[in-house]
């Protein structure tokens, strides 16, 4: 039923592809733009920037978010920074180098053309954000400062103290609110998208549920843009915000949109370990800490001594030992896996033996406490607030946690999914990070998609429908979709089981973390494929959702989201099982070098796996998009 996956990548040289495509795309003239309705779901960096830009162009935009304000989207929590190939530091950076680093960092599992375009527009993002008033860090001369970040050997990361995400999102949000005031964007807060509406094979609208009064509403448009973030909360414990979920993307998947590379999930090495069983989320400490902190564990198993009582001879600085060239700055997946390794060996630290030390005592001895305080003061304060320990005196304890998901809905070069009229931006799509995302690249991708790519490519799609009004919401397809949502809501309320939604979410998270976490095995994944459906079956039978549908009912909201995470988890396991290689965030223990490094299989797996929903209970179909590398040579990553 599905043709071959055509990513619509322009021909020609890498450098010319985007320029050529921008020229060859059809345009919608300014006075025609106001005849097109576009729905943007999600108001994070990608959604807000896209909606604002479309509004400025003159489209009639409707923004739907389940938050109480667009400013709360989880982009806000990104700490570290945003990459851009500005080469302000004169240290040899270039668009090609950012492209190359991103492709390599992604372990050669992303599209050359997409990544090159991302690097190309990265410079415009910095200009745009600065003009909006985003207060990036500056040097004494008043010009923008940069730092080196997460495995990059050039300083190309722009940052705003420890809150780059918040500042960039506030920039995009302010642009969005400007359009709301101008009347080009209609903002619907606390409206959760629960259904994609299809008509004649195209996406023509969505159905939302109002979280305050439960009202179910159909929205019609010429195109639907999903910018709904990632699915890291499938692990229950992650650095994602509590409300992050896969529902919007998953409901689109169930309507035919392909879900690509779900097994590519990123584990962030520097998070605060869980302190008890009721931990609700994990807090990330900026990766920049690894620039000055040294990571170690005791050499001996179950060493009960306090860290300052352990002499250097009894410490194992395992990253420095194994990777002398990069040391503590190896990429996230390498750092994470090694931390898991030493904890699994029984050398973990802290009351629950579930962390490794990140020690600043050498840096403080070398640079002085004041310098460290100036660089990381706010992070140290945050650490102390959460753990009650003072990191100036005691080494921090860190452990990896799920942070980002590279997989997502499949999109072509123009960010349109295989469903015509359905565009997917930001973390919700799969496009640019391959099997592993570089630090400070998520903000870049979200804003590139929203500010500089979608506003062009959406016109190419819409120009076909000039003169056609958006489908009337009285059409039966809308009523059917509304009914489906209403049925779903009443189903949850009528189960009347015994355990809470959170209980099942936590149980699901444990399974996913154990079997589809940092290291995966065939047997583990097979177990996941039997245990997840079993737990899901119990969930559908025994979950307890109290209250009613017509009020603010958080259990009800979560019930549907967790159900989607169950289905997604199963797909992740399938994808991980099918990908018989290790690459980036996907580490199959069967596929490693003698030194324990990931071993890719470029012969058989240099492709995107895009899964097609085949109906409830049926095995999904795996489609492949071959990845062609014309500009970089595939090498085995080595950070020795």
């Amino acid at each position: 039923m599905l043709g071959s996956l055509d990513a619509r990548i322009p021909a020609g040289s890498l450098e010319a592809k985007w320029t050529d495509r921008k020229f060859s795309m059809r345009l919608v003239s300014p006075n025609n733009k106001r005849r097109f309705d576009v729905i943007v779901v999600g108001s994070g960096l990608a959604g807000a920037s896209a909606a604002a830009s479309l509004g400025e162009l003159g489209y009639r935009v409707k923004v739907l978010t389940y938050h109480d304000s667009p400013r709360r989207a989880h982009s806000i929590a990104a700490q570290g920074g945003i990459n851009a190939a500005k080469n302000y530091q004169n240290d040899g950076d270039s668009v090609f180098r950012l492209f190359y680093d991103t492709i390599k960092g992604g372990d050669y599992r992303s599209r050359e053309a997409n990544v090159y375009r991302l690097a190309e527009v990265s410079v415009d993002i910095i200009d745009q954000a600065t003009a909006q008033g985003v207060p990036f860090a500056r040097e004494y001369g008043g010009l923008l400062d940069n730092r080196s970040f997460g495995g990059a050997q050039v300083s190309r990361t722009f940052y705003a103290r420890g809150q780059t995400g918040q500042q960039l999102l506030l920039g995009a949000y302010s642009a969005l609110m400007r359009q709301v005031a101008a009347g080009t964007v209609e903002l619907h807060t606390r409206s959760e998208m629960l259904e994609l509406v299809m008509h004649e094979g195209r996406a023509v609208g969505v159905v939302t549920r109002d979280l305050i009064d439960g009202e179910i509403t159909a929205h019609s448009a010429h195109a639907v843009v999903l910018a709904t973030g990632g699915y890291g909360n499938v692990y229950f414990l992650s650095t994602n915000a509590k409300m992050c979920n896969v529902t919007a993307a998953w409901r689109a998947h169930r309507k035919g949109a392909l879900f690509a590379n779900p097994c590519y999930t990123q584990i962030h090495p520097t998070c605060i370990p869980a302190s008890d069983d009721f931990q609700s989320k994990l807090t990330l400490m900026s990766e920049s800490l690894r620039n000055d902190g040294r990571i170690w564990v005791p050499t001996a198993h179950d060493d009960g001594r306090a860290p300052d009582e352990i002499p250097d001879a009894d410490r194992d600085y395992f990253l420095e030992r194994k990777y002398p060239a990069f040391g503590n700055l190896v990429p996230r997946d390498v750092a994470s896996r090694n931390a898991k390794g030493v904890v699994d060996e029984g050398r973990g630290v802290g009351p629950r033996r579930n962390g490794v030390y990140l020690d600043f005592s050498d840096a403080m001895a070398h640079d002085g406490e004041a310098v460290i305080r100036a660089k990381y003061g706010n992070l140290f304060d945050m650490y102390e607030r959460i753990t009650g320990e003072n990191p100036y005196r005691v080494p921090m304890r860190i452990y990896p946690a799920t942070h980002y998901t590279m997989g997502g809905l499949w999109v072509d070069y123009e960010l349109m999914s295989n469903v015509p009229g359905l565009f997917v931006l930001g973390e919700a799509n799969f496009s640019d990070h391959g099997a592993n995302r570089l630090g400070a690249s998520a903000l870049m991708q979200g804003l590139a998609d929203g500010y500089f790519i979608l506003p062009y490519t959406i016109g190419n799609y819409l120009s076909d429908f000039l003169g056609d009004p958006a489908l009337d919401t009285s059409e039966p397809v809308f009523a059917d979709a509304e009914q489906a949502v209403a049925d779903d809501v009443s189903r949850w309320l009528s189960i009347g089981g015994t355990r809470s939604v959170d209980h099942y979410h936590r149980e699901l998270g444990k399974l996913v973390w154990d079997y589809i976490g940092m290291a995966r095995t065939k047997t583990g994944l097979e177990k996941a494929l039997s245990e997840i459906p079993a737990l899901r079956e119990e969930y559908l039978r025994n979950v307890r959702v109290l209250g009613s549908a017509d009020t603010l009912n958080q259990s009800l909201e979560k019930a549907g989201r967790v159900a989607d995470l169950f289905e997604l988890a199963e797909l992740m396991a399938r994808d991980a099982l099918a990908r018989e290689e290790s690459c980036g965030g996907h580490f199959r223990e069967e596929h490693q070098t003698e030194e324990g490094e990931a071993r890719r299989d470029d012969q058989n797996f240099a492709h995107v796996a895009a899964w097609e929903w085949s109906g409830e209970g049926a095995a999904p179909t795996r489609h492949c998009e071959e990845l062609e590398f014309e500009n970089v040579e595939l090498t085995q990553r080595s950070y020795k």
Binding site: H188, T189, R190, S191, T217, H219
Partner: protein, 266 residues
């Protein structure tokens, strides 16, 4: 759809836009920040008056003649140009206007805040708000009532059987020698000082006078002003009660008038 649009907009405003937009610069007074400016500026005027009034009253410690000369000086202000008491009246009118504006802006801002505010049935725990800042709405009316009493007592002589028009020394010593009256003055002036303590600091904020390097001085200044005014003003009832300010019921001005009349008779 209508529901969705409602959901997209904010809750209804608690304060309607003014029905009539006054011409500039009166329109500034129609806004809350504008009223705060008026509060601040009139506060400065009133504070200046209070300070001068208190300082002038120190003549009480010199004696009836000096107080009378001081009063005459005030009446004769500007006589080089305008007729006698005109300038004094101009200042009085200015003060009355400042006072009226101060009260009106306080009243309308309080109404606005009361409309915007909701109580916490579980109670609340103040961290920064001082006793002075939280009692402005009480100390203000106390001062207003006191001012009325003060004028009625010492300017119009409604309550004082021994009142002599135009003889402040006599009237003060007669009035304040009564214990209940002295207590009224003491209570009211404590309220005034408390009001000034917050007001004198607050006006810097309202008028946008803020420079991080000097900000810490604003509290000291407010405390000093309030303290000086309190000390000065409280001294009068206390020293009248102590008998330091006392003319034994003989009005210097009355005697002067008799004396003057007698001279004319000759």
């Amino acid at each position: 759809m209508a529901q969705a649009i409602t959901r997209a907009s904010a809750p209804p405003p608690v304060r309607a836009a003014p029905r009539v937009r006054l011409p500039w610069p009166l329109s500034i007074y129609q806004t809350a920040v504008g009223k705060k400016w008026v509060m601040g500026l009139t506060g400065i005027a009133l504070l200046g008056f209070i300070l001068v009034h208190m300082t002038g009253n120190l003549h009480l410690y010199e004696g009836p003649r000096e107080v009378h000369e001081y009063a005459e000086t005030l009446r004769n202000l500007g006589t080089e140009i305008v007729p006698r008491t005109w300038l004094l009246w101009a200042m009085r009118i200015g003060l009355i206007a400042a006072f009226a504006l101060h009260i009106h802006s306080a009243y309308s801002l309080s109404r606005m805040s009361l409309a915007a505010d909701q109580r916490y049935p579980g109670g609340r725990n103040y961290i920064a708000a001082s006793f002075a800042s939280r009692t402005m709405r009480w100390t203000g009316p106390i001062i207003g009532l006191y001012l009325f009493y003060h004028l009625a007592d010492l300017t119009w002589g409604w309550f004082n059987p021994d009142f002599v028009r135009g003889d402040p020394y006599h009237n003060v010593s007669e009035s304040l020698s009564s214990v209940p009256v002295a207590i009224v003055y003491i209570v009211a002036n404590v309220a005034l000082a408390v009001h000034i303590f917050h007001g004198a600091w607050s006006m810097f904020q309202s008028l946008g006078v803020n420079s991080p390097r000097y900000n810490h001085l604003r509290r000291y200044l407010a405390a000093t002003l309030a303290g000086v005014i309190l000390a000065g003003n409280l001294s009068f009832p206390i020293f009248v009660q102590a008998g330091v300010i006392d003319d034994d019921g003989r009005s210097f001005v009355e005697e002067l008038r008799h004396h003057g009349a007698a001279e004319e008779d000759h």
